[in-house]
Structures are given as structure tokens and as C-alpha cells.
Symmetry: C2
Subunit: 306 residues, 2 copies
């Protein structure tokens, strides 16, 4: 059950109240694959410039991540620079340099077209569609997007929505895309555009799995220390898709469990800069934290009130 992610491999410069990074390993495909690789082998498709510190990718190799699908081309790597507020509740993008991503045309490496679980990370929806065209018979295709594409590529994004099984966005994106501030109406609006399920990430408040007639809500793991929210959403997606690929299933029950694995990975992601939150984290740690989620949300049985 091959798990495939296409997305950015980036150099991030992040400012938080607790410190800062400069040209650190980042990007949606990186955060996704680091989280997913704890659960299932993952193949990455992306692009880097010839200025990319390739030794950084050794950190992915050590995790068994197959990044042979990451092309290295002439030009500057994708760079993002951002600054968080004192309470990490909001962030400002200081600079986005697409670099080699501007002309990227994803080509799947041999065998990747057989992938069963596909995550189309946050890139131009035209490119996401281009990847989708190359995949033969996927079990589950999920995609992410962001305000930039919602504003500038609405038509291809709507076309993409009609072709994916699951959309995974944060609450601000769901509100902006649908034009509705009520998150449940926004979720229904998105469902009506094609995907059978919508996952809405709500940061410190958790996440929702919205289906036509049912909703599932999972809180965020209670953390007293949060260092850097960058990549938390992609790590969530990695845990979610990694769990499904590992088990080879994509029904509602499996997706609800996948939400717990996603939330667990998100909690590691925010605990350090770049991918440092995952340092020293092994599968048994993940399993333990998943069990803590069960206690966090457990409603004890009781005598029924008549």
C-alpha cells in the first residue's frame, strides 16, 4: 500500500517568542513524511534548487523516507519566512519565494503511479491535478490548500475538489473558501463540492471530521509548552494518512482513528523547530500518546437518565 505525498520541500525562517530558525528544513512534504514515516513507508515528490543543503535530506533518509522523487534543479529553493505572535495564535508571512517551485511540473517516479494513498500537499491546484492524472487507481486521495490558492486559483481548486475523496484544511481556510463563518455550514458547503469527507484543523482546539450525516471531533493534545506551530497541519496529515496506509483501509471508523494519529503527530510537531519535535519519538511513544487521547476524550458510561 504505497503512500505518496507531493508538496513543498522548503527552507523556512521562523520567528517565535522562544527563538528563531534560518533556512531550516521545512515544507509540507517534509513535515508530512516525517510524521507518516513513523507509521508507514512514504515516497515524496517535490523539487529543490541547487542551493539546497542536501545533507538536510539525510535526516529524511534516516527515517526511511524515499525522497528519490524529489528533483534537484537549477535555481533557488522554495523559501518561507514567518513570524508568530506572542501567544502563537496568529502568524504573519514575511516573505515567500517560490524559486524552483514556480516552474515545477511534478513527475511521478517509476512505481509511484500505483500509489494507493495519495496526499496532495499545499501547492498550486493545477499541479495537484497534474499529479492526480498520473495516479492509476488510488484508494484514497486527500488534498490540502491555503488562502493563497483559494484567492488566486479558485477554478482549478474547485475542479480538484470534485476529484478528491478528502479535503484537509484549517478553519480559516474553510471559512474563506466557503464564505461562511459557521464552520459546520462551511464544512457542508465543501462536501457539496465533491469530497466525501472534510477534515478541518483547529489548532489548539483540535480537529473535525465532517461527513454528510455525521461529525467527529477530537481535541488537541493538552500541551503546556508549544514552540513552533509551523508544519503541525502537515504532520497531522502525515499521521492521518500514515495510519490509513498502514492498515490499508479508508472507512469512517478507520478515519476516526486516523484523526487521533494525526492529532498525536501534530502535538509532536509543535514541540520543536523544523522537525526537531520528532527527535527520539518512536512508534511506541506514538501508541502511548494515542492511548492518552482515549482517556482525554472518554465519556464514562452511566445509568441512563429516564
Amino acid at each position: 500500500m504505497t503512500l505518496l505525498v507531493v508538496g513543498s520541500v522548503a527552507l523556512d525562517s521562523v520567528f517565535t517568542p522562544f527563538g528563531q530558525t534560518a533556512d531550516a528544513l521545512g515544507g509540507s512534504a517534509v513535515h508530512f513524511s516525517v510524521a507518516a514515516s513513523l507509521l508507514h513507508p512514504v515516497r515524496v515528490v517535490g523539487v529543490i534548487g541547487n542551493d539546497f543543503p542536501v545533507d538536510q535530506l539525510d535526516r529524511l533518509t534516516l527515517r526511511g523516507i524515499d525522497w528519490s522523487g524529489v528533483e534537484r534543479v537549477e535555481g533557488e529553493s522554495f523559501r518561507w519566512k514567518g513570524k508568530y505572535s506572542y501567544d502563537l495564535q496568529s502568524r504573519e508571512t514575511l516573505e515567500t519565494r517560490l524559486g524552483v517551485f514556480a516552474n515545477f511540473q511534478p513527475r511521478l517516479p517509476a512505481g509511484a503511479e500505483e500509489a494507493k494513498f495519495v496526499f496532495l500537499g499545499n501547492i498550486d491546484p493545477e499541479l495537484q491535478l497534474g499529479v492526480l492524472d498520473q495516479v492509476k487507481a488510488p484508494t484514497l486521495v486527500a488534498c490540502d490548500t491555503m488562502n493563497y490558492w483559494i484567492q488566486s486559483r479558485r477554478e482549478p481548486l474547485l475542479k480538484l475538489l470534485s476529484r478528491v475523496d478528502l479535503l484537509m484544511v484549517n478553519d480559516a481556510e474553510a471559512r474563506e473558501f466557503s464564505g461562511d463563518w459557521n464552520i459546520h455550514r462551511a464544512g457542508r458547503w465543501l462536501l457539496e463540492r465533491g469530497p466525501r469527507r472534510v477534515v478541518i484543523k483547529q489548532g489548539e482546539y483540535g480537529a473535525l471530521l465532517i461527513e454528510k450525516d455525521r461529525t467527529f471531533a477530537i481535541p488537541a493534545y493538552p500541551l503546556e509548552e508549544v514552540f513552533d506551530p509551523t508544519g503541525a497541519g502537515d504532520a497531522f496529515a502525515g499521521g492521518f494518512m500514515g495510519y490509513l496506509a498502514r492498515n490499508g483501509v479508508a472507512d469512517t471508523d478507520a478515519m476516526r482513528r486516523a484523526m487521533v494519529y494525526g492529532s498525536t503527530m501534530g502535538s509532536y510537531a509543535v514541540s520543536g523547530f523544523d522537525i526537531q519535535g520528532f527527535e527520539g519519538v518512536a512508534l511506541h511513544d506514538v501508541v502511548e500518546r494515542v492511548q492518552l487521547f482515549e482517556d482525554l476524550t472518554r465519556i464514562p458510561a452511566a445509568e441512563r437518565i429516564q
Copy 2:
């Protein structure tokens, strides 16, 4: 197991994007008691001015609420006027007139000093302490407060905290009181001031029950239509305390279930102006919605990952 609430009985003028009210039935004790009365008899202690439209209180009598502890005195009733933003996420207080509440000295009516479950609604902490002094041997004392008292009555509020079993506030209040933006650290700070448990209400994101070594999180009921958030927190408290009083227990398991009843009552409260969200709601409706919460939060069992 007498359930007692002391709090405001008010005339509210509320502006929302969906309509407005003028001098409508409101106040913490009203919203609390309407919700609680679906689960357990409740006695109200409060004060109204001689301008209060007493027929409005018939709406409480019809629900079996004992408001014989509400004094009617010379002067103007407590009035609050507020306006919500387009997305109901924030509100502005346009006017607060304490009226007869300025000189209120709560006196428990005969028998109320035997109350086992006591909720000290959002009033001056000196008054909350005054009520607490009159109660003989309560099983559970819970209190609410707000930014106004946190800023102006910090010392008596800290004294109150050291004497109650449970503090119930919203996230902004927890942050302001503790001076910490991280909600879990804020919760721990509050626990260290006395109460064994802290409930933090997070509006559309649900609520947390924080104990020394454990946290429980419950999402809000998914609502596509929300009309007026006024009183939702008090209705939550009413459901929470009503459930505990009905069962005569106050352990962690009971409190977790009480959180579900609280959330259920909050979902009715926001569905209409003043107490209209509860019109036509019977106990069996409450029980049904509580069961829906169980589905909303259910993590399906699965083979353990090794």
C-alpha cells in the same frame, strides 16, 4: 439534594446579526436555572427591582423553578446591553447598570442553607463569599466569575478560589486571571489557588475539565444555526450542576458526564434569544442529544499498533 444558585436576574438588551431584544429575561441565575430545571429542582437566590416585569418570572415558575429566594426591592433592576459581531465570536458591552445589585446582600431563604450543590454565579466575589458562609455542609460548591471582578476584586476572588471545589470560567477569563496565554498552564495555575477542578468553557470549541493529573475535553455540539450566545455559559453550568445534583455525586466520572449535559444545555441556549432556546425542550430531548455527543466523540476500537 437541594441545588442552589445565586446570581443575577436581569433585563438584557442584545443585538445580534439575526435580530435584537430589549429588556428581555436574562441573567446568570435565570439561564442557569432554566437549564438545571430540566434535570433537577433548583432554588434561585437573587434580587430584582420594582420595575421588573414579574410575569416574566412566571416562565420560571412553569419550569418548577423555586424563585422564592429572589427578593424584590425598591430600585432599578440589573440591566445589560450588548452587541455581537457578525460571526458571534466577540461581543461588546454597550451598557451595564447594576441597579439593585449594587447594594444586594444575599440572604438564603429557609432551608437553602442545607443545599448540597451550590453554584455561585457571576456576581461580586464578596457576595459569593457571603453566600458560601451561609451554606452548612455542601457536597460541591462551584463558582463563576468574569473579567470585571478579576480586574477589580482580585483579593476576594482569590479568597473565594481557596474555598470552592470547582471554578468554571471561559478561556479569556482563565488567561486574564492567570496571566498565562497557554490554557493548560492557566488551568494549572488556577488549580494551585484552591479548587480541585477547573472547567474552562471555549464557546464553539467546547470545554475542558482540568484536574491535577488529568484533563477531559468535550467539543461543542455541531450547530449550523446559532442565534444568541448570551447565557450559554450559565446554561452549561446549569446542565453540569443539575446532572450532579440529580445523581447526588461529584466524582471525576460523574463530572465528565456532567460536562456532556452542560454542553447539551449550552447548545440549546444559543439557539434562541433569552430563554427561548429551551422552549419545547423536554428531558428526553436532552437525553437524545447527550447520546449524539457520544457519537460525536467516539473513537472506534481498533487493533493495537505494535
